[in-house]
């Protein structure tokens, strides 16, 4: 198992470096931050001084090498906007995003397993149609609209929930999670349903039934375990999207996460913060992918060992 994880680490390191270089270069293509940070009537000398102080006058390759040197020494630079360490800002914001992503995926997986199994167990039943409706709805509702409508309905009209913020305990979580969850729930439900329909018609399930296993046991112990692999793959992809920052949700609900931080950094041309945030999320996605692969390997021995010829 350890060698499997080690192999995956090696193969994932290269994409990580490519992502960092790409973000570094693309960020600088978005334009000069000088106008945002200097007074409107700054002189040419002041502008030159600002550019020199922040290394913007150096050739791009020199800036890139300096950046990687800093990364090796865990120095990710200083925010132009706040003067704070960029890594501190990213590390402060990231746990809030992780919490939100984790809670969302957990609830989405539980909901998808329950609804998907139910729909597969009774094809063309009410549950099956409900799961289809859920998927279509999830695919078609913009999360921005869902969030704003949720605020209007449950906060302003009914007064049950806070509009935004993180001060109201568990109530603060409901609208952000509901907004984030709707799409993963719809997608995962269809994946679980499809996998379960196949699994429930497999010979080993018929064998289990013939040996007298109850319906509940057949679904949960025999079919679901074999249907878990494709669901795990899709759940992993969806989780990666959430870890990358739930930008819309974080912006609307004032959630102090990394998605909002990254958007602000882009708008402010705050390169150090953007790079630190991307590095942190990229590493997290890298770790998550290894974790998912490890789960895969646990579920399926064929994945653990390379094919022997």
């Amino acid at each position: 198992m350890f060698s499997f994880v080690r192999r995956r680490m090696y193969t994932s390191a290269l994409p990580l470096i490519i992502v960092l270089i790409g973000v570094f270069l693309l960020a600088r293509l978005t334009g000069d931050p000088t106008n945002l940070y200097l007074p409107e009537s700054a002189t040419a000398d002041q502008r030159a001084e600002f550019a020199a102080a922040n290394g913007f006058n150096d050739p791009l390759i020199t800036q890139l090498i300096d950046y990687f040197k800093g990364v090796i020494h865990l120095d990710f630079g200083t925010s132009l906007s706040t003067g704070e360490s960029a890594s501190s800002m990213a590390l402060r914001a990231f746990p809030a995003t992780l919490q939100l992503a984790f809670a969302t995926m957990l609830l989405a997986i539980i909901g998808a397993v329950v609804i998907g199994c139910w729909a597969a167990y009774r094809p063309n039943s009410l549950a099956d149609r409900f799961s289809s409706l859920l998927s279509m709805t999830a695919a078609s509702i913009p999360d921005f609209w869902f969030a704003i409508t949720g605020v209007w309905l449950f906060a302003v009209l009914m007064g049950w929930l806070p509009t935004s913020g993180v001060d109201a305990g568990i109530l603060s979580w409901i609208l952000p999670i509901a907004t984030l969850m709707i799409r993963p729930l719809g997608v995962l439900t269809q994946v679980v349903r499809g996998a379960m329909v196949s699994a429930l018609s497999a010979p080993y399930v018929r064998l289990a039934r013939s040996k007298g296993a109850s319906d509940f046991r057949v679904v949960t112990h025999h079919a679901l375990r074999n249907a878990a692999a494709p669901a795990l793959t899709v759940a992993g992809d969806l989780a990666v999207g959430l870890i990358n920052g739930a930008v819309v949700v974080e912006a609307i609900f004032g959630w102090p996460g990394i998605g909002k931080l990254m958007i602000d950094a882009i708008l402010q041309r705050d390169f150090a913060v953007l790079q630190a945030a991307v590095l942190l999320t990229a590493v997290s996605i890298f770790v998550l992918n290894i974790f998912i692969d490890a789960c895969y390997a646990l579920l399926d021995a064929r994945v653990r060992e390379p094919a022997k010829v």
Partner: protein, 523 residues
């Protein structure tokens, strides 16, 4: 049961349990402050978090709205309703020679850390903001290239010297917030110490900023013991926080955000306009520039897009700012005349078919996208070839501030100018002089008028700037003014406060008081 299966199940169960534990760990979000309703706390929601509370960047709206006259204070303060300068940390000021102003400081003022405020601090603060290498925004916005000399003959007197006579130096000084002389001269500070009615209690970056009453404040104690700032980028969410009783004050609302009766319209200092880049054809032809002015249906835009929250504009500054010319009427909406002018220019060989870029900034003001689309349609009707380009702030600033990008081609920049200082000098210098930071036109002769006006005081100054605004459409014609804007402030029934033209830039918490009804009755 298969042992391997059992192991997998145990591991996955442990993982799920860990997840539940993390997610439900008190349901407390990392990086959050928590807290419930407190009737002694004034709750303010802004559109963005201040990047810094550095006082010398107080002319930046997102910083100034929190720090100015709440945490730190200047020597003198401009009354935004009357335009008069009021004593604050200085009780008197006078021009003692053409190039010198003397400020007499108030006795008994201390900083929130207990240190006394003296002329040494005043001189240090001015020197730090204006003469240092900190690139303070106040320096660029208010003082330009000016270097000031400072003397402190005694603990209560500071003398400010200028290289040229400056009749409005006290107005400029009103932008310099006082900080203790222990403040860094080489680095900006994010959480300053000041003499204001409030002091910073805590700042949970990304989440909220808490101020507490300054126990050592020299003036009358503010009504609210604490103030809590939060920020939400969505206007509709800020409005919902007011209607849902989660905030007492919300800034930057639009008419469509849904604050209803709790949204208070107020005249702000902002004026919207198209600034015309006159160096490229066809915009270098004055007939085309006049056609642009005739094409814009200002009343229609104000009524339909701004929902009546504004007035058609004829000049860069609104009423109440020194130099405002009440005699100038907005350009009439005359699409036929516009078409005639474009046709005449075309007949003379002006390439009116050349594509003109209409550059706007996303979210600059409520209805900005619709405004740009309406103007593009109107200019197309006049016979011009106009393409809309909406940009984020950093990209748009490249076209708003000199030096403009090379090979930009002809462009119209939609700008919103706010004159925080209340004097036309702060608008005219930037937008109409040849070297103005935001100017794309100008003539040496017009520069002389601007320079001469800046040296005058009183009625002569008023008249000179009035004349500049009257002459600009004839001599330069590089602007198409759209509207003097109004803002909407969300205000809960718990608070008494009347917004003024400066509210968007400098929102005085001490001016807010609990409403006559008991606040706790409504919680």
């Amino acid at each position: 049961m298969n042992p391997a299966t059992s192991t997998i199940r145990r591991r996955l169960s442990a993982l799920a349990l860990a997840g539940v534990t993390v997610a439900a760990s008190g349901c407390t979000v990392a990086n959050s402050g928590g807290g419930g309703y407190d009737p002694d706390t004034l709750r303010v929601v802004l559109s963005q978090e201040p990047p810094t509370l550095e006082p010398c960047d107080g002319s930046l709206t997102s910083t100034g709205i929190v720090v100015r006259s709440n945490i730190t204070e200047p020597l003198v303060e401009r009354d935004s309703n009357t335009g008069d300068l009021q004593p604050l940390l200085a009780t008197e000021w006078e021009q003692t020679s053409p190039n010198e102003w003397k400020f007499t400081l108030r006795d008994g003022v201390t900083f929130s850390d207990g240190a006394p405020f003296t002329s040494e601090d005043a001189a240090f603060s001015i020197n730090r903001a204006v003469n240092s290498d900190l690139s303070c925004n106040v320096d660029g916005y208010v003082f330009g290239d000016e270097e000031l000399s400072l003397q402190t003959p005694d603990a209560n007197t500071v003398i400010v010297g200028t290289t040229e006579p400056d009749p409005i130096l006290p107005l400029r000084i009103s932008f310099v917030e006082m900080v203790p002389r222990t403040t860094s001269m080489t680095e900006k500070v994010r959480e300053p110490i000041g003499t204001g009615p409030y002091a910073i209690q805590s700042w949970d970056y990304g989440q909220q900023l808490n101020l507490a009453r300054n126990a050592t404040y020299w003036g009358e104690a503010p009504a609210f013991a604490k103030a809590r700032y939060q920020w939400r980028s969505e206007g509709s969410v800020r409005a919902a926080m007011i209607t849902n009783d989660e905030a007492d004050i919300a800034t930057g609302l639009g008419p469509e955000d849904g604050a209803g009766d709790l949204g208070v319209p107020f005249q702000n200092n902002e004026t919207t306009a198209l600034r015309i880049f006159t160096e490229e054809a066809p915009l270098d032809d004055i007939r085309v520039r006049e056609a642009i002015n005739y094409s814009i249906n200002r009343s229609g835009i104000v009524k339909a897009i701004f929902r009546g929250l504004g007035e058609p504009a004829a000049q860069l500054i609104p009423e109440g700012v020194v130099g405002f010319n009440a005699e100038i009427e907005p350009w009439p909406y005359d699409p036929d005349k516009a078409r005639e002018l474009v046709a005449a220019a075309k007949a003379d060989g002006v390439p009116v078919d050349r594509q003109i870029r209409l550059i706007g900034r996303n979210s600059q003001f409520p209805g900005v996208t619709e405004t740009v689309e309406v103007m593009q349609s109107e200019l197309a009707n006049a016979g011009l070839n106009v393409k809309i380009e909406m940009m984020d702030t950093a990209a748009q600033l490249q076209y708003q501030l000199r030096p403009f990008p090379d090979n930009s081609g002809p462009f119209l920049a939609l700008i919103q100018h706010g004159n925080q200082a209340g004097d036309a000098a702060f608008s005219v210098d930037q937008y109409m002089s040849v070297d103005g930071a935001q100017s794309s036109s100008g003539t040496p002769a017009f520069d002389e008028k601007i320079s001469a006006a800046g040296k005058l005081i009183g009625e002569e100054r008023q008249n000179a700037y009035e004349q500049i605004f009257a002459d600009e459409p004839n001599e330069i014609a590089a602007m198409a003014y759209i509207a003097h804007m109004k803002g909407i402030l969300g205000k809960s029934a718990r608070v008494d406060y009347t917004p003024n033209p400066a509210t968007g830039d400098e929102m005085l918490l001490a001016a807010m008081t609990p409403a006559a009804s008991d606040r706790t009755d409504q919680s």
